[in-house]
């Protein structure tokens, strides 16, 4: 998310009732109660337009891409490459050719680890990460560091859940070759100051990889303004299909990278002994791609842009402004992350001082409320916070303030189930 500019006109607020009509799943019940879906940071739901786009592709244009001379293959290729163009415009990439489709953010991290870091990192080099990383932006670097004899360093958070930027110069030095960090924390909701960190990283000659899995869904993203070298995200966390991921990389950096997976689609020429690689981005897309997922991704971007990413950001701030004080009113809850509703995406992680997060998850589920309970694939951050698990309620465009009330009521009800004071 890029900092909002003061001068911009306020976006048109999201009409939640109208938005909800576009999501077929929201009309279902869970345990006899209307579904209250608050697990959007894990994956969002899909609007009818995305489901239709994918279904229509299979019904009317299904073919493999980039190889047929027949009409259907041409249409499928156009649809696939059209989605790439939409992604490029959506995150303000310099060129659609710098957009690589992967399976998810995790695969994008692994692609950069294999294609870029393996080539450039030597023994004694350092990779700077943060303590708030999702396992997807930690484990691949651990594996690489072990293989290459590199050192991992970590930027810590302060008590408010922000990165300790004043300690950046203690962990960043001339040995740092890569800084890999999340745009927005999937537990704390903290939005990190990417341009500031990228500027410091570049000043010591390090590249910057940004895990945007929780960034793209929640507000406008401009990868060029963020000044990073790589940016990855998972469209399924922003209304898109499961099973497709996006990696953007600076063209000059991508050009000098090794391929990740070898096979069909990614070659220029193949003899029995050796092969040469296709141009970027195809060099990084071995095998038949998930074309229908790309088509669905394109439709999800259309949907988001129709609402406006600034409006989505504003909606989440509105949720935060209502949600955070309500949670803090419950004296038995600990709420994690920044206090400022503007400094975080529309989620809250919290713990009841007597009821384990898994028990909260079960009790809320009986009320039809879907939240996440556990370590959120961020075990080092759980250790840093001194907890085993947290409960997390994450909101999106189809959630409104009445669902905050339902959440709060259910949290009070959980105390009653456990025979605790409210």
């Amino acid at each position: 998310m890029t900092p909002e500019t003061e001068a911009a006109a306020p976006p048109t607020p999201i009409d939640v009732a109208r938005v909800r009509q576009d999501f077929p799943i929201l009309s279902r019940e869970v345990h006899g109660k209307p579904l209250v879906y608050l697990d959007n940071s894990a994956t969002t739901q899909r609007p009818e337009s995305v489901i239709d786009a994918m279904s229509n592709f299979y019904r009317t244009a299904n073919a493999n891409v980039h190889r047929g001379v027949h009409r259907l293959s041409e249409e499928a290729t156009d649809a696939y490459e059209g989605a790439r163009n939409k992604v490029a415009a959506f995150i303000n990439a310099d060129s659609a050719r710098s957009i690589i489709f992967t399976r998810n953010t995790t695969e994008a991290v692994n692609l950069v680890a294999h294609g870029w870091a393996r080539r450039h990192l030597r023994q004694g080099d350092e990779v700077l990460l943060t303590v708030m990383e999702h396992h997807s932006n930690l484990v691949p670097w651990q594996m690489l560091a072990q293989e290459r004899g590199c050192k991992l360093r970590f930027l810590d958070i302060d008590e408010s859940g922000h990165l300790q930027l004043d300690h950046l110069d203690e962990v960043l030095n001339e040995h740092t070759r890569l800084v890999a960090l999340t745009h927005v924390s999937n537990v704390l909701g903290t939005t990190n100051a990417i341009p500031t960190i990228a500027c410091a990283a570049h000043s010591v000659g390090a590249k910057v990889f940004v895990d945007g899995a929780q960034g793209v869904p929640h507000g406008p993203v401009d990868v060029q303004a963020l000044d990073c070298d790589f940016y990855a995200y998972s469209p399924h966390k922003a209304l898109g299909p499961l099973g497709i991921g996006v990696l953007w990389g600076r063209r000059d950096v991508l050009e000098e990278m090794d391929p990740f997976l070898g096979g069909g689609e990614m070659i220029r020429d193949v003899t029995l002994e050796r092969s040469t690689w296709a141009a970027v981005p195809h060099k990084f897309e071995a095998g038949t791609p998930s074309v229908a997922d790309a088509v669905g991704l394109g439709a999800s971007i259309d949907y988001l842009e129709n609402l406006g990413m600034a409006a989505i950001r504003q909606h989440e701030v509105k949720i935060n402004e209502y949600l955070l004080p309500k949670l803090r009113e419950l004296p038995w809850l600990t709420v994690y992350g920044p206090k400022d509703p503007h400094g975080r995406c529309g989620l809250a992680s919290f713990n009841d001082n007597q009821i384990h997060a898994h028990d909260l998850g079960t009790i809320l589920d009986q009320h039809g409320i879907a939240i996440r309970a556990g370590h959120h694939c961020a075990k080092p951050l759980m250790r840093r916070l001194g907890v085993m698990a947290t409960a997390r309620a994450s909101f999106y465009i189809y959630n409104d303030l009445d669902e905050v009330d339902l959440l709060i009521e259910a949290l009070i009800e959980a105390r009653k189930v456990f025979g605790l004071a409210t």
């Binding site: 345990h31 009821i355 384990h356 997060a357 898994h358 028990d359 079960t362 009790i363 009986q366 309970a373 556990g374 370590h375 075990k379 759980m382 085993m388 698990a389 189930v417 456990f418 025979g419």
Partner: protein, 161 residues
């Protein structure tokens, strides 16, 4: 709510609030740690066995949800003074009940029977089983002849000390 009342029975909450097995043992015969990586629940178990083959002491330090803590507490309550053979038999019974079998007739399983409601919450069954899978490994540590009864589990890991 019916389902919740069935899961969070008062007896379960009592065990959660004040778990059995809190007393630390001097020089236990075995010490193992159970771990459910899916949810992060952990549990330390120490067992002392006297010369007659009876469990003379059981220390459990559970760190997890109400179901895993209550299950561990009931395990400590039920196994104190039991023989190792009896412990193996109770563990087998409990595992089979969690897999959907009825309690064997004519026997009183005490508070443990309250955990039956967990069966209706499939994602929580592993919570109830953590202590018992840990016990399984602990017993095999005590008597290697019991190693054959240790069942590999896709989720629950047990480390020995």
């Amino acid at each position: 709510m019916q389902g919740l009342d069935d899961l969070y029975r008062e007896v379960i909450l009592d065990h959660y609030r004040t778990p059995h097995g809190a007393d630390v043992l001097e020089d236990p015969a075995v010490k193992v740690e159970g771990f459910n990586p899916l949810c992060g629940d952990e549990l330390l178990m120490e067992i002392s066995v006297d010369d007659s083959g009876r469990i003379s002491g059981l220390h459990i330090q559970p760190n997890g949800c109400s179901i895993s803590v209550a299950s561990a507490s009931m395990l400590a309550q039920q196994l104190a003074g039991k023989t190792v053979e009896e412990a193996v038999a109770l563990k087998e019974t409990f595992k089979s009940v969690m897999r959907g079998e009825p309690w064997p007739e004519g026997q009183d399983f005490g508070d443990l029977e309250a955990l039956e409601g967990v069966k209706n919450f499939p994602v929580r069954i592993k919570c109830a089983l953590l202590a018992w899978m840990t016990l399984e490994q602990a017993l095999a540590e005590y008597d290697p002849a019991l190693a054959a009864q240790v069942e590999a589990d896709d989720d629950i890991e047990v480390k020995t000390h």
